[in-house]
């Protein structure tokens, strides 16, 4: 399976990523018995206080074609760098309310270190390199553009 040529996958999910999808994704790995460790990062929309009000949701947009090409490039680089068994990336598009999940990164390996380091690096690269934008919707009906730190 790891010898199979990998092709770009759609990473985008419309709206929030449900806890059920995450649970199902974990369950899907039970047959891969060479895995010894999973690492999961979940990004959650935070109710930040802004000058114009507090954040109630983030509306995500993306340059989808470019983002998918970039995600594929990152994916290949991480697979080449770490001995991973599996890697999954899901990012929301459209509106995600505070408290809901907007990013799900999931790596698996034989031993924990590779999964953990790869997951970390993936999250950093996704946030820095994917052409995705978050518009933070405020309770005042105004909005501000999210800035990644």
């Amino acid at each position: 399976m790891s010898e199979k040529k990998r092709t770009p996958k759609n990473i985008f999910v419309s709206g929030a990523i449900s806890p059920e999808k995450i649970a199902q994704s974990i369950a899907n790995h039970s047959s891969k018995t060479d895995i010894g460790g999973h690492s999961i990062f979940l990004g959650q929309v935070r109710a930040d206080q802004k000058e114009g009000g507090s954040v109630v949701a983030i509306d995500y947009t993306a340059y989808e074609e470019m983002a998918l090409e970039k995600a594929f490039e990152i994916r290949e680089a991480i697979f080449a760098k770490y001995p991973l068994t599996c890697m999954h990336i899901y990012h929301s598009l459209g509106e995600v309310k505070v408290g809901e999940i907007c990013l799900f990164v999931f790596t698996s390996s034989k031993h924990r270190r590779a999964a953990m380091d790869a997951c970390d690096e993936l999250v950093e690269r996704i946030k820095a390199e994917l052409p995705v934008w978050g518009k933070e919707i405020l309770d005042s009906d105004g909005h501000v553009w999210k800035v990644n730190t």
Partner: protein, 79 residues
């Protein structure tokens, strides 16, 4: 040479331009394009944005190939 190029705009840039797509007179290079865009949309001068040609971020000044897909990208804020 084609006399029009299609520009995609995203996030805060699309908001300032009032549109996610623009048809624009062809330019020699990206510096020329920036100059023309900023003349028509002065708000752009105050904003940080990158340019992608055919889905690849460019560095410095780059000649615009014919029928290029040009995109104006404000700082990314995914995740």
């Amino acid at each position: 040479m084609y006399n029009k190029i299609n520009i995609k705009a995203f996030g805060m840039i699309a908001e300032k331009l009032g549109n996610t797509a623009l048809e624009w007179d062809a330019c020699e290079d990206t510096d020329g394009l920036r100059k023309e865009l900023e003349a028509r949309f002065p708000d752009l001068k105050e904003m940080k944005y990158s340019i992608a040609i055919n889905k690849t971020l460019i560095v410095g000044n780059v000649r615009l190939p014919e029928q290029a897909e040009v995109a104006l990208l404000p700082p990314f804020s995914g995740g």
